[in-house]
Structure formats: structure tokens, C-alpha cells
Amino acid sequence: MTSLLNVEDLVKNFGGLTAVSDVNMHLDDDELVALIGPNGAGKTTLFNLLTGVIVPSSGSITFRGTDGTISLNGMKAYKIANLGMARTFQNIRLFKELSVLDNVLIAMTAHYKEDFFQSVFRLPRFYKTESQIRKEAIELLKIFELQNDLDKLAKNLPYGIQRRLEIVRGLAMKPKVLFLDEPAAGMNPEETADLTRLIRQVQRDFHITVLLIEHDMSLVMNLASRIYVLDHGSLLAEGTPTEIQQNKAVIKAYLGEEA
């Protein structure tokens, strides 16, 4: 069986700058993979390529969907998302002025239908769909202990909870892959420990593949089964946490040349 997500010879140039060059990687079902690398290594660019926010210069990205393998090259971001790819953002992008519940309901948009006339004239069918979808959203929020904040505006939540809500919002899309862009950024050690538990729980209970960008090495080494190391846009190493910790090239990239 092919991998869930396959990336071959991916290149992205911004003018004369090659942000991502010849990256090959793959994600399998139900695994937790980390993507690390120094600042400016091209990690977020790679995320944006995978989720369709930007279009690759060359190379291919393929995704194993329900009916065969699909090429994601040049596909619109919302279509890629609806194939089953959810993401969070490095600088939280919740719908700030909307309630916690609405944030989750919006993420479910593609998973239910409401006829225009039904909703505008409030036919019984509308109330049925609406109560069902709300129930589903609240159920999900309950799992992450957010059921008491349903009507709070997203911007009024504490930082750590906002991060958590962003993950819940991603899960509401019923994804096959969840991309987490620096989920622990700006968190204190206690919050990071909470987050580690949360990601483990997500992966265990929802059986999804997680790709994680993170600088916090304790988190990465704790969680990831495989690690990709990116430096100056190209892949430096790939392996288990133990392998990566002993890899000379990786140590050099992070700490510089030995004197």
C-alpha cells in the first residue's frame, strides 16, 4: 500500500531564493512525524506547500484519498482541506470575534448540507440539521474540556486554550492528517506538558496522522516516531528520535561547526 501522503522532489522558489529544494518525504497512516530545523529552514513554507496555500515550483505531492491517489499540485487550498487535511497556524488564526462553538461549527461546514431555502425560511429540516451538528460540535468540545466556554469569544480565551481550540477546530474537519505548526510556541513548561498529553490523546483516540513542526525538543523527542530535519530548504536527515540525536549533520546545523 502506498503512503498516505507522498512528497517527491518538491521545490519552491521565491524569485532567486530557493525556500524548499528537492524535498522527499512520506507520511503513513496513524503515525506522528515531526519536522524540525533551525529558523528559516523552510518548515512553514513546506507546510504551506502541502496544504495548498502556495503552489510548488516543481515536484509532486500525492495524497491517498478514498478513491485512489490524487495529485495535490495546484489544487485549491479549500479542496485539499476537504480531502482530509487540517492544520493549525504558527501565529494562531482562530476566528477571533466569533464564539468557541461557531469556530468549531465553521470547521464542519463541508461535512453537512443546508439548503438555502430551508435555512432562510427556517423549515423543520433546518432545525434538525442544526441541532445535530451542534450536538456533534459540543461533544467534540467536551472531549477537550471546552464545553463551558461555548459562547465565549475566541479572542477572550487564555493563550493555551486558544492553541487547544485551534487543534479542536482542526479535528472538527474529521481529517486524515493534522498539521501542527509550532503548537508549543510561547508556552511555559507546564502548558507544554499539557499539550504533549493532548497531542498524544488526539492521535490515540482519533487515529490520524500528525505532522508537527516544533522547536521544543523535549516535546518532539517525546512524541515523534519519526523526525525529518530541514536546513536551508533541503532535507538534512530522517530517522527515529535516537538516530536524529546522534546525527552529526544535524548537530552541526543546530550548534555550528566544531572548533
Binding site: L94, F95, E97, D102, I106, T109, A110, S119, V120, R169
Partner: protein
């Protein structure tokens, strides 16, 4: 479950609408509302339809459109032309639907290329599109060119306008509180995040834009048949800006605000009829003062909500016991 919880609020709204209708009716019968005041009320009603529609586009979908008067013109001329030819009530109602359909087509033609733009660029492009509509009307024979149309039969009496205000508002408010409306809100809040949630950003922008245009056409139909005379110059950029003023003054993102602002401006405008040249100065001063002391608009982003009123009462009762 939601059905049961909501019938109470829906009933309240229904009672409010019916009560408003009978209040108006009685006041006209006993002569408190004379024809001058009735004229003012109808103008307010038409402005409410326009402002609520534009508020959907600007306040809820976050698309800064300056072309609302163009779609209003489409509705106005559809009605004017049709009922001038065959002056029956039936034709009048069909003409409203025709106006809405033509406005929807116009909104699609305008929206598909322009909604890819953002902010100021979108405002300029929609303004241009509305001018194109106006200039086309200005140069057609069927619309009687720049001199406009006169003696249009009056079918849009105040009850018709009242009902249209209710219908268009119900449609827009219900749209906002549904799947489509939430998607539009997501687009307003953060396009990139919305897109990554699987929301077709362009589609929902267009949906809100088209729905706003359709209600503007209804307002146009009302105006043509109530005032009985229209000219292309009624639908120039100043009209679009006048509608925008109502939206901003009431509160961008508050339907209640659009109602309140349309009401206040309508009353101020009518009260200043006798002041001649001073009228526009005072009108402008009112706008400046409100913007200084309440920059988010009269209502901000809050709405009149029976749900909240009930909840507050319940909380008070709960606190006592």
C-alpha cells in the same frame, strides 16, 4: 431540541412585527401620521432594506462594496418599466421578482471578477460597476434616458414596504445564522484560516454579495413605485454612500443598528426640511458627532435579541431563589 427552544423567540418576533403593523395602521387612521410622516416612514423602510443588505456584504462577509445603488437601480427600472406598460398589482409583484433576478445576474457578473480584490480595490471596482449600470440606464431608450420615468403607478403603499422590510430582514438574518452565514463570517474574520477549514472563500463572498444585491433590487422596486418617478441620477455614487453611512452609523455588523440608524437619519432628514441650506450642515454635524463619540456605530456589533432578554430574566430569577 433547538426547534422547541426557538419557537418562543420566533413568536416574539412575529408579535413585534404584527404589533408594529397595527400600530402604524391605527396611527394613520386616527390621523397622527399624516402623509408627510408616512412618506418619511416609507423612506426609512426602503433605507432599512438597503442598509440591511449592504450590512450583510460589509459587516458580515467583510467585503467593502460601494456599488449598492447600482443594484437598486436595476430593481427600480425593472418595476418602473413593467408597471408603466401594464399597471396591475400582479405585474408589480412579478416586476419585483424580475428585478431581483436581473440584480442577481448583474451581481454575479460584477462579483465574479471583482470579489477577487480586497478592501479599497474592491470598493473602487464595485463603485465602477454601479456607475456602468447607471450609464447603461442613462443611454437606453426603454428607460427614457437621463430624464427618467414619470407617472409610474403607485402599488408600493406603506403596508407593502412594511412587509418587504420584514421579509428581506428575515431572509438576511436567517442566512447569517445558518451554515452559509457562518462561512461568510469566517471569510470576514480570516480568509486564510477559512480556506484551510475547507471553506470555498470565493463562493461564500459571492453568495453574500448576490443576496445583498437581490434585496437592494427589492428596495429599488419599492422606491420606483412609491415615489412614482425615477431618474438615473437617483442611483449615483452619492446614493451608495448614503447607504454606507447608515450601515457605518448603525454599527458595521449589527442589523439592529441598521434599523436604528435608518430611523434616526430619516427623522433628522425630515425634521430639517425647513432649514434650507443649513440642513446638510446639521446633517453632517450629526454624523461627525456620532463618529467621534461612538466610532463603532450606535449599536456596535450588538443585536436586539429576545434570547438574551429571556436569559437575563432567567438569571435574575435564578439569583433571587
Amino acid at each position: 431540541m433547538i426547534l422547541k427552544a426557538n419557537w418562543k423567540y420566533n413568536l416574539c418576533w412575529l408579535i413585534l412585527m404584527v404589533a408594529g403593523f397595527y400600530l402604524m395602521n391605527t396611527l394613520i387612521l386616527v390621523g397622527i401620521i399624516n402623509s408627510f410622516l408616512e412618506n418619511m416612514m416609507v423612506t426609512i423602510g426602503i433605507n432599512i432594506i438597503l442598509a440591511v443588505g449592504l450590512n450583510l456584504v460589509i459587516g458580515f462577509a467583510g467585503q467593502f462594496s460601494l456599488g449598492h445603488a447600482g443594484f437598486m437601480a436595476v430593481g427600480a427600472y425593472a418595476t418602473a418599466i413593467m408597471i408603466s406598460k401594464t399597471p396591475t398589482a400582479g405585474t408589480f409583484y412579478i416586476s419585483i421578482i424580475v428585478g431581483v433576478i436581473v440584480a442577481i445576474i448583474a451581481a454575479l457578473v460584477v462579483g465574479i471578477p471583482t470579489l477577487r480584490l480586497r478592501g479599497d480595490y474592491l470598493a473602487i471596482a464595485t463603485m465602477g460597476a454601479a456607475e456602468i449600470i447607471r450609464i447603461i440606464i442613462n443611454n437606453l431608450k426603454i428607460t427614457n434616458g437621463p430624464s427618467g420615468m414619470f407617472n409610474i403607478p403607485q402599488f408600493a403603499t406603506w403596508p407593502v414596504v412594511y412587509i418587504m422590510v420584514c421579509v428581506t430582514t428575515i431572509i438576511i438574518v436567517n442566512f447569517i445564522h445558518s451554515r452559509g452565514g457562518r462561512a461568510a463570517l469566517a471569510v470576514r474574520e480570516d480568509e486564510i484560516a477559512a480556506e484551510s477549514m475547507g471553506i470555498n472563500v470565493f463562493k461564500w463572498k459571492l453568495a453574500a454579495f448576490v443576496l445583498g444585491a437581490a434585496t437592494a433590487a427589492v428596495a429599488g422596486s419599492m422606491q420606483a413605485s412609491y415615489l412614482q418617478t425615477i431618474a438615473p441620477s437617483n442611483f449615483n455614487i452619492m446614493e451608495s454612500i448614503a447607504i454606507l453611512i447608515i450601515v457605518v452609523l448603525g454599527g458595521v455588523g449589527s442589523i439592529t443598528g441598521s434599523f436604528v440608524a435608518a430611523g434616526i437619519l430619516g427623522v433628522v432628514d425630515a425634521a430639517l426640511q425647513n432649514f434650507g441650506a443649513l440642513r446638510m450642515v446639521i446633517y453632517a454635524l450629526v454624523l461627525i458627532l456620532i463618529m467621534i463619540f461612538k466610532p463603532s456605530g450606535i449599536m456596535g456589533a450588538t443585536e436586539l435579541s429576545f434570547k438574551r432578554l429571556f436569559n437575563r430574566k432567567n438569571k435574575k430569577v435564578g439569583a433571587k431563589s
